[in-house]
Symmetry: C2
Subunit: 428 residues, 2 copies
């Protein structure tokens, strides 16, 4: 990096890319003043350089050829915004190997290829920043990794996916079913045409992998922990959570240090409304952590969106320009956790809904099974209407997930139990 | 700073100082691993080195002589925790001039002597960090100054004083009067024996001065803006805010960029309960900001307390060790705001309570005066009980503060208006 000037190359001129260009158009002086260097967006590469992105950009800096960035020795920082695994990985590795710093938002790639990417950056003495990969514009990675780094963390709970959170908030407010809300979200641009990663929990999983590595020191692959999405969610359960339990339903990424073992999971969760996580509604994200010294801390903001994400991308560039030789050191050097807690070992309160054909003695049978597996029931509510199928709502005290699963297997075998039992974990 | 070892000297072995020692006792390996250097607390100076602070500390590192820190060329970072103006200022300047980096929590000093302290640090090429001076353990200074630095901020609203917030929360929950709650808070250690700075808004003012400098670029002295505390607060008004207006009362530090002019003020404020600021209850702090790209962002955590504050102090040390040569550059280089908005120019919704002796025509007289000053009233509620003095509650629409003040002057002149009118600004 020269003394006076920093050249940036941007790969991927999509939504976020256009946001980055807009920030440079509007606040370049602010950034240059801040860093004490002339910070220039030298090249922007994309396969499509003709579509209007709604931002002013000089034709001279646009290119269809990514090599004009990767092979340019004058480019100091490469911003990778194309997403996905390939060719993003190849581009990033090429750039790192030619001593270019990287800023990326690519949580899928970073969470999958953590070890190779980080070690390549270290070997080449350059920075690899990815603040926008988790929580969009919310500064959470650097916060955990640096400002709070004297803490041992005990837990992280994150509302990390704006699309899923928007859908859950809408169902909760209007009682609309999942499919209609998703369609509406797609129209409004809050959900992608293929929303699988957002609604099935994969995106949240990528993010909690990154957070958990930084907070606890252990890298875990997404194949190795429980990931449940929200696509099967029924408004009836959200309604019950709201009205009867005083809970909101949130798709959470959860990471906990249980006496040196790491519990990692992603699933829709009943969260008591007085918990600060419930202030993250709609497209907003919120990350709640507990550290041994700092106590609880909560960070809230826009988890996605063109400008918020672009703000974090440019923030990463500023960090690199101010500290080009800061050692790459994500998470504690020695992991504070070792093996993973199995999904079956989860210890929690549960909400269970059964759909039963009312018949004398069926409730008694259900309770007999619950009793057999030591499932301690806090509350049970049975709608006494005379319809064909009626819901039975059960709230457990703290019990083991394996016991609940086994009990539900037996309960499903009962003649009067008609549909697949519905289960949610309740945050405690 | 040597390649392998960093020596830290700590001045002020009080509550926070003991917290810092505890972090080093417990997590020194974590910190050393993180920074790649052996980070050592070499000396701790205090006038009283005999009182037991409840933490393990070697007698060898304790000293009554601050010069053992200030004159030791091996000490790289000085943590100043004695608070107040002198001798803290002298110590900090001496340390800076001998090229020692400074970490301080001293918001009173930093907000008062901003220019001299920052310029001395710059001249000597060393760092001056003070993350814990605002929001205790919440990482807010570095967040605004670096991660979010590509944004132009439009506003900051902060619940910045845990003592005042605790007192307001208690009055709100239990209806107890100010004095009893303060006494209780002092017993619990949530309020100092002399709580003036906390309850009269000075502490909040120091903090909003720092935040506003960093977000907007303009330094303002505490003599130059409106600072109102909570010591005269009446439970009746909090009760009305809660029940009739759906608001919590928060002592806020407010900083806004009004088209290039800076509005800075500290006062108890009615905040609608659905605003995320209201999730900061009890001793917790919360800082809400809006940036042009990031949009709204909210940071929440423990604003005071031994360990949370100590966590931020050690976080500052880690930042310095990782980036000893990072340029000191607080706020945008060129201020985005110029002159200050006068208190009289404030434009807001208001809550006004008058105590009147019921008499035919008095309400009409009051409304005539309000009308004369163009005070647009949204709601007025008069308790129709037959007591000697009855309250009249008025909620205005958006009006100018000078008009409200002038109207209240006239209203106070009415025979039937018996006590000093009570006024609160409502956050909109």
């Amino acid at each position: 990096m020269s003394k006076d000037k920093v050249n940036i190359g941007l790969i991927g001129f999509g939504t976020i890319g256009a946001g980055v260009v807009e920030i440079f158009n509007k606040n370049q002086k602010l950034i240059s003043d801040k860093t004490g260097k002339n910070v220039v967006l030298k090249k922007v590469a994309d396969l499509d350089i003709t579509t209007d992105r709604g931002v002013k950009i000089s034709e001279k800096i646009l290119t269809e050829d990514v090599n004009e960035i990767l092979d340019d020795p004058e480019i100091d920082i490469v911003i990778e915004l194309i997403g996905g695994y390939e060719p993003a990985k190849t581009f990033i590795l090429r750039a790192l190997k030619t001593k270019k710093h990287i800023v990326s938002t690519n949580k899928a790639l970073i969470s999958k290829e953590w070890n190779e990417l980080i070690s390549t950056a270290k070997e080449n003495g350059v920075r690899l920043n990815f603040e926008a990969s988790v929580g969009g514009g919310i500064p959470v990675i650097q916060t955990i990794n640096e400002q709070l780094s004297s803490n041992k963390f005990s837990s992280i709970y994150g509302v990390l996916n704006g699309t899923a959170n928007y859908i859950l908030s809408e169902i909760s407010e209007n009682g609309t079913d999942f499919k209609s809300v998703l369609k509406e979200a797609q129209k409004k641009g809050y959900a992608e045409l293929d929303p699988t990663f957002d609604i099935e929990g994969n995106d949240t999983a990528h993010k909690i992998i990154i957070l958990s590595k930084i907070a606890f020191g252990k890298y875990v692959s997404s194949d190795d922990f429980l990931i449940e999405g929200i696509s099967n969610i029924d408004p009836m359960d959200i309604e019950f959570a709201n009205s009867d339990l005083g809970c909101s339903v949130k798709l959470l990424g959860i990471a906990k240090d249980l006496n040196g073992r790491l519990e990692l999971r992603v699933h829709p969760t009943f969260v008591p409304k007085n918990h600060i996580l419930c202030s993250a509604n709609g497209v907003f994200n919120g990350i709640y952590l507990e550290g041994d010294f700092i106590g609880p801390i909560f960070l809230y903001g826009q988890g996605a969106g063109r400008m918020a994400t672009a703000s974090a991308v440019v923030g990463d560039c500023v960090d690199i320009i101010l500290n080009p030789s800061k050692p790459i050191n994500y998470g504690p050097e020695t992991s504070q956790v070792n093996e993973l807690v199995e999904a079956n070992e989860i210890f929690s309160k549960y909400y269970v809904r059964l759909m039963i054909k009312p018949k004398d003695g069926v409730i008694k049978e259900i309770f007999k099974i619950l009793n057999k597996y030591n499932i301690d029931i806090d509350t049970s509510i049975q709608n006494s209407c005379s319809e064909d199928l009626v819901p039975v709502f059960l709230i457990t005290n703290m019990v083991k997930e394996i016991d609940v699963n086994n009990a539900l297997l037996d309960i499903k075998g009962l003649d009067s139990v008609k549909e697949e039992p519905v289960l949610f974990r309740i945050l405690n």
